[in-house]
Symmetry: C2
Subunit: 300 residues, 2 copies
Amino acid sequence: MSILVVGSVAFDTIETPHGSAPEVLGGSAAYFAVAASYFAPVKLVAVIGEDFPQEERDFLGSRDIDLTGLTVAKGKTFRWTGRYHEDMNIRDTLDLQLNVFADFAPVLPESYRDAPFVFLANVDPGLQGGVLDQLTCPPRMVACDTISHWITGARAELIALLKRVDLFVINDEEARLLSGERNVVRAARSLLDMGPRSVLIKRGEYGVLSFSPNAIFAVPAYPLEEVFDPTGAGDSFAGGFLGYLAQVNDLSEASVRKAIVYGSVVASFVVEDFSLRRLRSLTRDDIERRYRQFVSLTEF
Amino acid sequence: MSILVVGSVAFDTIETPHGSAPEVLGGSAAYFAVAASYFAPVKLVAVIGEDFPQEERDFLGSRDIDLTGLTVAKGKTFRWTGRYHEDMNIRDTLDLQLNVFADFAPVLPESYRDAPFVFLANVDPGLQGGVLDQLTCPPRMVACDTISHWITGARAELIALLKRVDLFVINDEEARLLSGERNVVRAARSLLDMGPRSVLIKRGEYGVLSFSPNAIFAVPAYPLEEVFDPTGAGDSFAGGFLGYLAQVNDLSEASVRKAIVYGSVVASFVVEDFSLRRLRSLTRDDIERRYRQFVSLTEF
């Protein structure tokens, strides 16, 4: 089954305690698409500027990613500059140039409109809703992400969107902000009341909590000796997660749990190097190997 | 198999966002002993003042806890006053009166000296080592805990002690402080190099990581809608953990993992009310029930 993803493709300039990387491939849709492409075909909708190099386009195209929906607009590609603290759970945005992304109005190519799996990466909730309006068949699963910027700046639109999605992927601080609840379990229950059938709360190096009305699933993150660059971990997690679900085309609790572990595995690789570099050499066999390590890490 | 615990019995005055509790039973050895007594007989070494009420002594005695080593000294019982923030991972000590605990010099009763399981709760590492000197048989397992106060103030003594223990129980911030490593995996490896055969890192609401030279085990905390009072969670965890190991008298990796889950389960009950109140009504059946919930919470 194929997965439609709508989000950003960007150039990131990143500083971490381990070093820096200028103008490297980034953006929510780029991370998601490459991660998901290990499991299922991806249809990408994003906008890039005229400065986007052919080699990066070729890299995306070398994966099982349909680039029909990757629009080239007049101007420069979205750029983000960030610096991570010693505690890499904390980062500062040093610079943000929306460039062509400022006028992003996603239009789905005809061939995308019956996608059975849909991921609405972090963009304006109004635009996320507009993507759903263009679908011609009810998808099997719609998932969305968001950030604090929209929770505070477009709260009503976000809450309207949540009534239309099956799965809400969000980090713990954002869950607290949106729900007004400090306790993560109460926060998740409050988000479930807003509409989605399940809520996945990302807790960075502490792993993931998944909530549905009848079940809670808790999984730690894969313990790494070196987290090189946390950028894109959340979107790669979502890519591995939805990718696996699209591959098995089964939304049972058992599959959802395996999907969460696959998402965690892919994210654990992504943070081992800057940008998407680690995924340029990563194989599906590597993923399976670490999945088995994850089993022995957690079984009792 | 029985468990020897050496530590504090105290009165705590606690303020949390949910309320306050003045002069309630606390102390590392009290939490540990009551938690462990669900699984195995406990031999307690601690000091209390003349003001310690008979009813609290009766409560401890009503559990499978040998109080021969509970000394009454002239003066008042150790008192601690603390306040938790909205984020209950953070607390301030408002007042500390060591009282009789200032001169605590643990002497093991003759009947305690062949204990097969030993827990050295947080006291001066010199005193912890002195307890080991009094043992007449090599124990099956010696575990110890510590706090930042000793890491910075008695570092050499602590490092000497670590060469004599099998298991080091510590929280993540303390592990970072002692090892000088920010990354928790590197911190644990560095602590293993100091001598203990395994290191258990407590991460509060995020669960526990267990490290031995050949294996890592990661387990989330039981997700609670209400954490009422986190005091004693770490010592109750250690009590459930060592209690289970003493009960099964088996130190295989499989047993250690189950023990970690039992420890997490007991701690999850303790934080549901102030002080040790929740343990006054808790049954072993309640523990088994939540253990099974823990299995469904984490299995995939």
